[in-house]
Amino acid sequence: MHPNINIEILSAPLELANCLAWVQSPTCGGIDVFIGTVRNATKGKQVEKLEFEAYLPMAIAEMEKIAMQAMEQWPVEKISIHHRTGILAVGEIPVIIAVAAAHRSAAFEACRYVIDTLKKTVPIWKKEFFADGAVWVAAHP
């Protein structure tokens, strides 16, 4: 793992303070953090809970690739990505991405890139549970 990249996939609740402490540095002037939270509805339908499943070694490898791409594209110093697995209730946190940079513009752009790309390429799957059943998100057209 690149020394300025921190990737964790955890079955316990994610701690924002851990991501922040990991990226903070005296050479950085700004940190952008994205925190995903479980919404109580999707397309107007009430969500009861979510389940996240990960293909662990590959998910970590893909997240590291994304963080490396972000570091190549923007002058950012440190990136921390933590993703949760297992059953999550409404309001819980599936993902935290923290990006520290000397200047805020790079932190914002790199953080946005990481979450957008993570959702497209990292082998993690989300199952939404409704009152009348459950579906794997995005599985079917």
Binding site: P57, L118, K119, P123, W136, A139
Partner: protein, 80 residues
């Protein structure tokens, strides 16, 4: 040769397990694997898309498969 497929998300439901064995004629590539999978498990054709990963990397259709590779069936991802 017989290879083991790791399956996740909806693919695990379609294949009926996290690890499923499948027999392929050698030499086999990703394209041949996909054809065999779709033959054995037709609901795979109804997915929005799916990818095959070999040793933790997404593989192209022409990539050759060895019996020692770790092969995973990756349905549409939805992390984050």
């Amino acid at each position: 040769m017989e290879i083991t497929i790791l399956a996740f998300g909806i693919a695990k439901d379609i294949l009926g397990g996290i690890r499923v064995n499948i027999t392929l004629n050698e030499p086999a590539n990703i394209h041949a694997l996909k054809q065999q999978l779709e033959h054995n498990y037709p609901p795979l054709k109804e997915l929005a898309s799916y990818m095959i990963a070999v040793n933790n990397n997404y593989a192209s259709d022409t990539q050759t498969i060895l019996s020692t590779d770790e092969i995973a069936l990756i349905p549409p991802v939805s992390g984050g």
